[in-house]
Amino acid sequence: MDIKRSEVYRYLGYGRNKPDEKVYEAVEECIDLVVKNSDMKSIYRIFDLNVEGSTIIIDNSFKTESKNLSKNLTGCEKIVLFGATLGTGVDMLIKKYSKLDMSYAVIIQAAAATVIEEYCDICQKEIENKLAAENKFIRPRFSPGYGDFSINHQKEIINMLDCPRKIGLMLTESLMLVPSKSVTAVMGISSEKQDCHIKGCEECEKLDCKYRRS
């Protein structure tokens, strides 16, 4: 797995700045720790999709309104529901270092955020390749909480994929994903190729975000 150091530094607030040697070494050590303590698991299923205006209906049962997502899904006839997690080991690691050394805790947290995204990219690529064989293409992955796609929809995605049982990914009462380094997302499937390389960050309307990818 190619873990982009630049992403780790972005999460740590470095922007374009270079870290000093001490931080550089700590980052390398923490990436190693994260990879060793991860138990990566993912699941996806393809469902029927209906988009009318900003109304999105998945599998005839999961219905939602979202302008941003419906735009992302224009021209799609099916949709992938997707869930992935690094497992509880990474959460324990962060907790452990929160007691031992906070500087490590924040670096581990940034490294883990990078690893889960990287892992999702790999999973997405696999789905992409599989669908390519049928001349189908997928859209950028879109997660609950992006734009006006409500975070409440974590619930439907988790239930429809049976995530707790299949990959140990669950929700808290307040709709947080546990283990914390986890992702749920949807990806539209269409017969036409569209640029699939734009990711969530650039799509976001919060232009002054200090973590924004430039």
């Binding site: 980052v27 907790k95 007691k99 975070i151």
Partner: protein, 802 residues
């Protein structure tokens, strides 16, 4: 007739998948299958009937997710669902017309779908309540047994087993999901799961779901190697595959039953199927295995303690139990207990793990603290960050029960002794929760002087335990060691007694080794040599300080010399590097001042230099002339964007180490550093991400604020109560998500009402100034330094802070 009457007489058959068949009948993804018990009862009865006809002895009621947590958003109660589900199975029994064999209905209890604390937000006791409600309804509705299945977390599993056993008289079976590596989602392995379940007293245990028979076979064999009770194997029909958006399973009934036959021949007594298996699978299974003679179960006699993730077997390789989590004779530890400073206790735990402990002893008894609540909190916290098994060390039975009940795994219990009263109090707990109990060879007449008499007490303990149904494999005997300084025969008496109990009773042994040298100078010399002698005499577990070089040297040398360290691998790994190890990348800090080590974030050096400085300088001068200016400089750099968060925190940690050194010096001369004021920190109710709050905590402590860290997912009332009780004038609240900002707003509102003179600062990923204004916070902290500056503004009267 009970299922237990048949078990072992012939192979018993479970049914196969239900969900798969419901899907064929139209169950949608995400739909709650348990509702079909009422809305589509005929379809459910039909599936059950097909399984009975195919040859299943036990059919699972359609109650997998029928707990109050999963049914929460439906308009049906647990009782309605469970009763309807059991009735459906009983109807199927009748309609099948089968009379030549007894048919059984199992209440099926799957996981709640929530992750338990500390990683998730479901409390152990709430999980217990949910399972309890199901179990009671199930028994009332006429279930013949309870199957707890598809569990992937030992903690949730334990809550379900306790709920089933404490509230019903039904037989309890339990199966878990292992992945191909033989691990649960939460990390537990076969050994750990089997030991815990046997300790809890289930009637049969095993594996289901997750894998097909091919991948499951090896794991099933491993379970059979560990278990001393009947084993259940219920695989899927292969690994799931995505086909046109549908999940499909490929293993045919022929292949399925062939492999399952091998598993039954290897010793599984109860077999069936899970996802993707059909009545056809069960039919062939029965045909091929119906006439097999169940293999006799051999008791394994292994002495095993576990955590949620690992099992430690007390066998011929000696085990080290870390003794440092204990206030006896440690003023710093006592202080930590009184101040509820659990982090300090956790750091003692980390250090011992690093130094080679296999199990950690946990003793938090102090006359002036509430041991019952403290031991529960400490065991839970330790288990959330350290995967070593724990030894619950208390003479308070209530505290012992509290800790054992909430312990994730099969604990070691320290201790019981030969007194009637002690055995009557402790053995029922060992029987109920499982555990390996330490038996001290003393009784009403005190500690016997001779080896023979100590042996007799040990014998009494082992025999009495047996009358409670506790096997001697779950007892380790401590023949006690008394200091040689007052009786020069005491060491030999101890060793003689040790040999006697091992040879004649066949039990494992344990000693608190360092008592031997009490009252003597340079105790490590005597301790380590006595340790070697005890190991030679057959000592299995030693309660020692793993930071003691001498003891660890004795340990590794003994293992190498006694042929317990193959090719001396461990010894070489431990000691070969020591001489030649070049100081790798050791920074040249020789020339640095304390201020510079802090600015550059060199933690160890900062602590060491500060300690050195206390010899010549006044503690307060060190703080004011070196520590504070360095911290200020780093803080300013962070604000300007020339220093980044990791560096800020490295400096903060270095400063913390320096403060510890200075504090030690101040304690010695009885000086106290004045605190700038009290601040409460909390991650709000519903929010479980506390990294931001923890960053703020480190910095505030650096700047001498007294921080009350209430943790994460903090109830509103607790924030308010603490603010009132401690008269706190500043509260810092953190929230990560939009969904939890609401509870931040409510917390602020409650504070305004009940503690109006208290200011509130807020921070967290989703917050902005605008948001903070909207929820009426006094201050929005854009980062950790901003919190420090605001705290100074609110709480400090001195000029330097204004």
């Amino acid at each position: 007739m009970s299922i237990l009457d048949i078990l072992g007489k012939r192979i018993v058959f479970f049914d196969g998948g239900t969900g798969t068949l419901l899907q064929e009948k139209g169950l949608q993804a995400g739909e709650i299958p348990e509702l079909w018990n009422i809305n589509r009862a005929d379809d459910v009865v039909d599936i059950h009937k097909k399984y009975f006809e195919a040859g299943a002895d036990i059919v699972l009621a359609n109650t997998f997710g029928g707990n109050g947590i999963k049914l929460h958003d439906t308009n049906k109660t647990v009782e309605e669902i469970v009763t309807a589900a059991i009735n459906n199975v009983n109807k199927a029994k009748e309609e099948s017309g089968i009379k030549d064999r007894p048919l059984f209905c199992a209440l099926d209890m799957g996981p709640t779908g929530k992750l338990l604390k500390p990683m998730g937000d479901l409390d152990f006791d709430d999980a217990y309540e949910a399972f309890k409600q199901m179990a009671i309804c199930g028994e009332k509705a006429g279930a013949d047994l309870i199957l707890i299945e598809t569990m992937s977390d030992t903690y949730e599993l334990k809550s379900a087993v306790l709920a089933a056993k404490e509230n019903t008289n039904l037989p309890v079976f339990a199966t878990v999901v292992f992945d191909e590596k033989g691990k649960l989602l939460t990390g537990g392995n076969v050994k750990a799961v089997v030991a815990m379940l046997e300790g809890l007293g289930v009637d049969a245990l095993g594996i289901n779901c997750g894998l097909g028979p091919v991948q499951m076979k090896d794991i099933a064999l491993e379970i059979l190697k560990e278990a001393s009770i009947p084993v259940i194997v219920n695989p899927n029909a292969g690994l799931p595959r995505n086909e046109n958006g549908k999940t499909v399973y490929d293993v045919t009934p022929e292949k399925f039953s062939d492999i399952m036959k091998e598993i039954a021949e290897a010793g599984a007594w109860v077999i069936g199927g899970c996802c993707g298996t059909t009545p056809e699978h069960i039919k062939l299974l029965k045909q091929k295995c119906g006439n097999l003679e169940p293999l006799k179960i051999e008791p394994k006699n292994k002495t095993i303690v576990t955590s949620y993730a690992r099992a430690v077997e007390i066998n011929d390789i000696p085990v080290i139990i870390g003794e440092r989590i204990n206030p006896t004779g440690k003023s710093r530890f006592k202080q930590a207990l009184r101040e509820n400073d659990i982090d300090y206790i956790l750091r003692e735990g980390f250090a011992q793990q690093k130094n080679g402990a296999h199990i950690l002893d946990v003793n938090v008894g102090l006359p002036d603290i509430n041991e019952v609540t403290m031991i529960e909190a400490v065991t839970k916290e330790l288990q959330s960050v350290i995967d070593l098994p724990l030894q619950i060390d208390t003479s308070n039975t209530e505290a012992m029960e509290k800790a054992l009940r909430h312990y994730n795994g099969k604990a070691m219990i320290n201790s019981v002794n030969g007194k009637k009263e002690s055995m009557e109090a402790v053995f029922p707990l060992v029987k109920k929760y499982g555990g390996v109990v330490v038996g001290l060879t003393l009784d009403e007449s005190g500690i016997p002087e001779t080896a023979e008499e100590r042996f007799n007490v040990a014998k009494k303990i082992v025999e009495t335990a047996k009358s409670y149904g506790i096997d001697k494999k779950d007892i380790v005997i401590d023949v006690l060691c008394m200091t040689v300084s007052s009786d020069n025969k005491s060491a030999m008496v101890t060793l003689d007694a040790l040999k006697m109990v091992k040879e004649r009773l066949g039990v494992r042994t344990i000693l608190g080794v360092s008592n031997i040298s009490f009252g003597l100078p340079q105790r490590e010399i005597i301790n380590s040599n006595f340790y070697t002698m005890a190991l030679m005499a057959g000592l299995d577990c030693a309660i020692i300080n793993p930071a003691s070089e001498g003891m660890m040297k004795a340990y590794y040398s003994y293992k190498a010399l006694a042929g317990k360290d193959e090719n001396c691998v461990e010894y070489i790994e431990k000691y070969s590097g020591e001489q030649s190890k070049a100081p790798v990348k050791q920074q040249n800090t020789g020339e640095m001042t304390l201020g510079e080590t802090i600015e550059k974030g060199f933690k160890e050096q900062a602590g060491a230099i500060a300690l050195e400085m206390t010899k010549t300088m006044k503690p307060l001068d060190i703080i004011n002339s070196e520590l504070i200016p360095a911290l200020d400089k780093v803080g300013k750099g962070f604000e300007k964007g020339t220093i980044f968060l990791p560096q800020l925190l490295m400096s903060a940690e270095a400063a913390k180490a320096a403060f510890e050194s200075v504090k030690t010096a101040m304690d010695k001369v009885g000086e106290v550093q004045e605190k700038k004021g009290k601040v409460i920190l909390a991650t709000v109710k519903g929010d479980i991400h506390d990294i931001g709050k923890n960053i703020v905590k480190v910095l505030l402590e650096n700047y001498s604020f007294e921080v009350y860290d209430l943790g994460k997912d903090v109830p509103i009332e607790l924030v308010v109560e603490t603010a009132i009780k401690e008269d706190v004038k500043l509260v810092g609240l953190s929230a990560l998500m939009t969904t939890t900002v609401t509870s931040m707003e409510e917390t602020i509102k409650a504070l305004r009402e009940k503690k109006p003179d208290c200011k509130v600062m807020v921070g967290g990923a989703v917050l902005t100034q605008e948001y903070a204004d909207m929820i009426k916070a006094d201050h929005y902290s854009k980062d950790a330094m901003a919190s420090v500056y605001y705290a100074e503004k609110v709480l400090c009267s001195c000029d330097c802070c204004k």
